[in-house]
């Protein structure tokens, strides 16, 4: 990990130090230190229940909404502590967007789902511009063709995978600086997955993307860096290539080769 620190000096987007999360008495995340670089895709991998989502939710303070969650440690975004009382979580979340693990479209029309972010952030000036944004986001999320004839029907009436893509479209519509994606392709077929991966690659040119995935292949395909979590610990973090070909920690190796879960 020493290596990154040096390289990162100017491009660290998010710096997490000694992050701990407790859900009541359940110690879900233990002393996690991660640096997330800008214009990079970072993959979080690890067995189910190891704390990936928890950590992701720390990065844009979504854990604030879980009454039982207690977060400690420091997380800096562009050098500013996001848990500083002066920080406005709203502004933070506008910069750090999120796609949740369970698709949660609003019970509104498909159009309104995507238009919601741009509207509240005032990103568009006219209806036409908004229409454009909605269309381009839906296209990027590989959903446009399936829904273009039913933009006004409710987002909750979509299939599981469609909902997931709708949530991706909704998240990118606000053009966040960092996009956190919690298993964005879990309900997608290979083609749609490929399209979303393409999107992620495209986003990387400007933004940071953090993606949680259970598919090593996907992690290897899309990410530049990979973090491996296990039982609440960050076991290993580094260049994706290194992690997959030459893991330092025996646990990482066992996981990648499919021996621990």
């Amino acid at each position: 990990m020493k290596l990154e620190r040096e390289v990162a000096a100017e491009t660290i987007k998010i710096q997490a130090r000694k992050v701990q999360v407790h859900y009541g008495t359940n110690h879900a995340l233990k002393d996690v230190d991660v640096d997330i670089l800008s214009k990079n895709v970072t993959a979080f991998i690890g067995p189910s229940g190891c704390g990936k989502s928890t950590f992701l939710r720390c990065l844009n303070r979504m854990n604030d909404t879980v009454a039982s969650a207690k977060v400690s440690g420091s997380i800096l975004l562009d050098g500013a502590d996001i848990y500083d009382p002066r920080v406005d979580p709203v502004q933070l979340r506008a910069k750090v967007g999120m796609v949740f693990q369970k698709p949660n479209p609003f019970p509104k029309s498909i159009y309104d789902n995507v238009a919601y972010g741009p509207k509240i952030h005032g990103l568009t000036r006219s209806k036409a511009e908004l229409d454009e944004v909605v269309e381009s986001c839906l296209r990027k999320a590989a959903l446009w063709n399936e829904v273009k004839d039913r933009l006004q029907s409710p987002g909750t009436g979509l299939s599981g995978g469609q909902q997931q893509r709708l949530c991706i479209a909704r998240a990118i519509a606000t053009s966040p600086e960092v996009l956190l994606m919690d298993e964005p392709c879990s309900a997608l077929d290979p083609i749609a997955t490929a399209q979303v991966e393409e999107l992620i690659d495209e986003l990387r040119s400007q933004f940071s993307v953090v993606i949680v995935t259970h598919s090593m292949q996907q992690a290897a395909r899309v990410s530049q860096r990979t973090a491996f979590f296990h039982l609440g610990h960050l076991v290993e973090y580094g260049e994706t290539g290194t992690i997959f070909t030459n893991p330092k920690d025996p646990r990482t190796e066992s996981y990648i080769t499919g021996r621990i879960g």
Partner: protein, 482 residues
């Protein structure tokens, strides 16, 4: 057999049925309840219900209809000549009913009936003795009729006991015999329960019917005494004690709308904001205390609000607003009553909405917050639309309460019925007038009193329209979440 005893026997049968059916079901499966289609408890419940439900239905229907049969039996003993001038068959029949009742009581006391039946005078005295009043003196024919009705009643009750018990036993045996491991007791129980649920819903329909019917006949009576065109198109409400009143409904309807609108203008924002704050911002502890506290507002007797309006709010508004602004000098005003009523109905909006807001899944909030929406944006654009049906229901309840309120209006808004736009003038509402016209000193059969029924029916129709509109709005804007 008395009804009470009968009910007890039915209950006992049902309990026994429950227990027997349970064991039988288990036994039928060779002691292994897992082989049963339905849990043993369902077999028990089904049996108990098959004993109780049909028997209860028969019992109730029988009791409702037996009156007609008894009446018929008594009527058959009476001749048209038994009806004296100025009386009616109905009156004679109610005397007959009372004689029969008195005879029953006399019999219960152990009095020898035969001599009384022979002598109408002795019977009259004896009836007085047991506290049975008579419209007219008993005659041989009415006594005969009374005897006939007693006889009919006795037969009817014996029949009732036999039929209900037979139904109960039949239900018991039928179910017990059908118990096999494959028997779908759960489905049958649920089908029966469904009828009970339907029955419960029908009570609401029955209530409506009852209300409409009980208002309708007197309303028609009113319109026979008072031209309906005057009622609906006259713009003055000015009843007089001695008759010749103007009974135009518009000033009252206007007052009702005005007062309720002000009340809602107070209660909806306060209630909704409180609900939102409690559900979304307040800590659990705060919420646990504040919510019940606010609910006390709904439990304070309206007389307190009325006096609060009269003694505190009215003069306050008069001295600080209406007189300085030169728009009136009355301490009773629509504004006063509306404000105070608004306070009273706050909990209707706040507590009910709070529950519904709280029931909106957290994932929706997360979705919105995750996009960088502020909590208030999330609430306004995601949570409230999802909670809309409940909130509209709450507001409707609040409106209903406001429309139905009397004391606050009487004390706060005064009793003057007028069509005015100035909220600082006294006005009154339909409900207030229903109460006051119904309880005043004028005679009952005058238009001044009967107008209460017409007012009630009109109000009923108006609120019906309001509710239909509300339903349509909810249907249109509802956002159904998963």
């Amino acid at each position: 057999m008395s009804i009470g005893l009968l009910s007890l026997i039915l209950l006992a049968l049902a309990t026994a049925g429950y227990l027997v059916a349970r064991t039988r079901a288990v036994a039928s499966a060779g002691g292994d309840a897992r082989r049963l289609h339905s849990l043993p408890a369902f077999h028990g419940r089904l049996t108990a219900m098959s004993v109780l439900v049909p028997a209860a239905v028969i019992l109730i229907l029988w009791l409702i209809f037996e009156g007609f049969a008894i009446r018929g039996a008594a009527l058959s003993q009476l001749k048209p000549s038994d009806v004296p001038d100025g009386s009616t068959m109905d009156l004679i029949m109610s005397d007959v009913g009372r004689i029969a009742d008195g005879l029953n009581q006399l019999e219960a006391r152990g009095t020898e009936l035969a001599p009384l039946l022979a002598s109408p005078d002795a019977l009259a005295a004896a009836l007085k003795d047991v506290g049975v009043a008579q419209g007219g003196a008993p005659t041989p024919d009415t006594i005969l009729a009374a005897q006939a009705s007693r006889e009919a009643l006795r037969t009817s009750r014996i029949g009732l006991s036999i039929v209900t018990l037979a139904a109960a036993v039949a239900g018991l045996v039928l179910v017990l015999r059908r118990i096999t491991p494959e028997f779908r007791a759960r489905n049958a129980t649920e089908a029966l329960s469904m009828w009970l649920l339907i029955g419960a819903s029908l009570i609401a329909v029955g209530t409506t019917l009852g209300i409409v019917l009980s208002l309708l006949s007197e309303t028609l009576h009113f319109f026979r005494l008072y031209d309906f065109r005057d009622f609906f198109f006259n713009l003055t409400w000015n009843p007089k004690f001695t008759g010749g009143s103007d009974l135009g409904i518009w000033p009252l309807i206007w007052g009702t709308i005005y007062v309720s609108a002000i009340a809602l203008a107070v209660a909806v924002p306060i209630g909704l904001f409180s609900a939102v704050y409690l559900a979304e911002y307040a800590s659990k502890r705060t919420r646990a205390y504040v919510k019940p506290l606010i609910e006390i507002l709904a439990g304070i007797p309206t007389i307190v609000y009325g006096l609060f309006a009269l003694v505190t709010v009215g003069p306050l508004l008069r001295d600080w607003i209406s007189i300085p602004m030169g728009i009136g000098n009355s301490s009773s005003s629509v504004m006063t009553a509306g404000l105070v009523m608004g306070i009273m109905v706050i909990p209707f909006v706040s507590s009910l909405s709070d529950d519904i807001i709280n029931a909106v899944p957290q994932s929706l909030r997360d979705g919105s917050l995750g996009l960088g929406a502020t909590p208030s944006e999330t609430i306004r654009q995601v949570v409230l639309p999802a909670a809309l049906p409940g909130i509209v229901g709450a507001i409707l309840l609040a409106a209903s309460r406001a429309i139905g309120e009397t004391m606050i209006v009487v004390l706060g808004a005064g009793a003057a019925a007028q069509l005015s736009l100035n909220p600082f003038e006294a006005m009154t509402t339909v409900t207030v007038k229903i109460v006051s016209q119904l309880t005043g000193d004028t005679e009952f059969n005058s238009p001044e009193t009967l107008v209460a029924f017409a007012l009630g029916l009109t109000l009923f129709t108006l609120t019906l329209c309001l509710n239909i509109v509300a339903l349509i709005i909810v249907r249109k804007y509802r956002e159904q979440y998963e």
